[in-house]
């Protein structure tokens, strides 16, 4: 039983490590910090897996854990939040090669995306970066699929407007 848990946990790690790391990275804009946060996310998943309650949607749970960890981080480091860093011309660093391989257009979009609410940023990242379906996002947010679809549509329109204004 314990062995099965280990196996399942490692499979989940292999399948979602990149996505969770990316999710954390877009939240904190720091590679090392995102690495720590992703690891912490999986450790919390393990704590859930050791519990008696079966986990029906581990992927959703992972995003929810990572989201909560990011909120904690925002609270602690409010002055260094993504928005402020972006506004002051901060370029995300990969901690190894100086500047991450992102073209200027993407960086620009990231900066513009910071003008959106955090919820809308999440929606855009999940839908277009992580390629999650509206149904999967609805599971993470515990909302109706239709509601999520409408919110995604509005968020992308808002981002387009932000892109046009500058």
């Amino acid at each position: 039983m314990k062995h099965d848990n280990h196996q399942q946990f490692l499979e989940l790690y292999d399948a979602h490590a990149d996505a969770i790391f990316r999710h954390c990275y877009f939240k904190v804009s720091d590679r090392e910090l995102a690495l720590d946060m992703a690891q912490q996310t999986f450790m919390q998943l393990w704590v859930y897996m050791k519990g008696d309650k079966p986990i029906e949607k581990p992927k959703s749970l992972l995003y929810r854990i990572a989201g909560n960890l990011a909120i904690d981080w925002y609270r602690k480091k409010k002055s260094e939040s993504l928005e402020n860093l972006m506004d002051s011309g901060y370029e995300p660093s990969d901690g190894k090669n100086g500047t991450i391989e992102m073209n200027a257009e993407i960086e620009n979009i990231l900066g513009k995306a910071s003008g959106l609410s955090k919820d809308d940023q999440n929606l855009i990242i999940w839908r277009f970066v992580e390629d999650l379906s509206p149904k999967e996002i609805a599971e993470i947010l515990d909302e109706r699929e239709n509601t999520v679809s409408v919110r995604i549509h509005r968020a992308i329109e808002q981002l387009k407007d932000l892109m046009k204004t500058t």
């Binding site: 280990h6 946990f9 490692l10 790690y13 292999d14 490590a17 990149d18 790391f21 990316r22 990275y25 877009f26 690495l35 992703a38 690891q39 999986f42 450790m43 393990w46 190894k96 991450i100 391989e101 992102m102 073209n103 257009e105 993407i106 979009i109 855009i124 990242i125 839908r127 277009f128 970066v129 992580e130 390629d131 992308i156 981002l159 387009k160 892109m163």
Partner: protein, 249 residues
């Protein structure tokens, strides 16, 4: 913007862990989920099998007095305290005496001898005829199975004669005719030389003596020897020596 916004956003997926980062994180996680946390570690020790057995003994000792546990050591199959002997005292012995497969096999073999000795004591009186025969037989057969299982888990390794001083040790220690091996012949021919060598290798001798003693101790509890030693009572109890040549022929 030449490209559609969603398409550009999708290119964000280029951000990913390097293979090294992914491997390192996986290793970290594996070590964290594999090892109990300090708090869990104490919890694990506290409720480990060994401790549970120890709690059992402590409970019985406190409840009935240590004399009960001590008295159970002399009990025989069918006695009131026999269960205390086999289910408490011996389990505790097993936990602490058998830390390696080798020790475990030796311990289980020793218990086979103990079971036979109990049956022999029963046979001295008329207990075997009083319906305790089946009980004693079951206990012995069960213990033989345990010993065979424990023996199957270890590789029998005859300790090699590791040095010339060891050969001298065995030469002077025994008066029994030794097997005619080439090593033995060398030992005979060069006895004087070896004696000189031995002076200079006291430490090595001590080490080898220990190993030999250990081996002899192990042989003493060889299951075949135990079965052979107690063959009379085994025949009386109609215990078959399955898969072994000898007394059921």
């Amino acid at each position: 913007m030449k490209e559609e916004l969603p398409t550009i956003l999708r290119s964000f997926s280029k951000v990913r862990l390097t293979a090294q980062e992914k491997g390192t994180m996986k290793k970290n996680l594996e070590s964290q989920i594999g090892l109990p946390s300090p708090a869990n570690k104490w919890h694990t020790i506290f409720w480990s099998h060994q401790m549970k057995v120890a709690y059992g003994v402590l409970f019985i000792t406190l409840s009935f007095g240590s004399s009960v546990v001590a008295a159970s050591g002399q009990s025989l199959p069918g006695d009131l305290l026999y269960a205390v002997k086999t289910q408490v005292s011996e389990k505790l012995e097993r936990v602490f005496a058998a830390s390696t497969p080798d020790d475990r096999a030796q311990f289980e073999t020793r218990l086979v001898a103990r079971r036979f000795e109990e049956a022999e004591k029963l046979a001295e009186g008329s207990a075997l005829e009083d319906g305790k025969k089946e009980m004693a037989k079951t206990q012995i057969e069960r213990q033989i199975e345990k010993a065979e299982l424990a023996l199957s888990k270890i590789k029998h390794e005859e300790p090699a004669i590791e040095s010339t001083s060891m050969m001298m040790q065995s030469f002077s220690a025994t008066t029994e005719p030794a097997p005619d091996t080439s090593a033995r012949k060398i030992a005979n021919d060069d006895r004087d030389d070896y004696s000189r060598d031995r002076k200079n290798s006291d430490d090595e001798n001590d080490n080898n003596r220990e190993k030999r003693k250990d081996h002899e101790e192990r042989k003493k509890f060889d299951l075949d020897e135990v079965l052979e030693k107690h063959k009379d009572i085994a025949k009386k109890l109609d215990i078959k020596k399955s898969g072994r040549s000898g007394w059921d022929d």
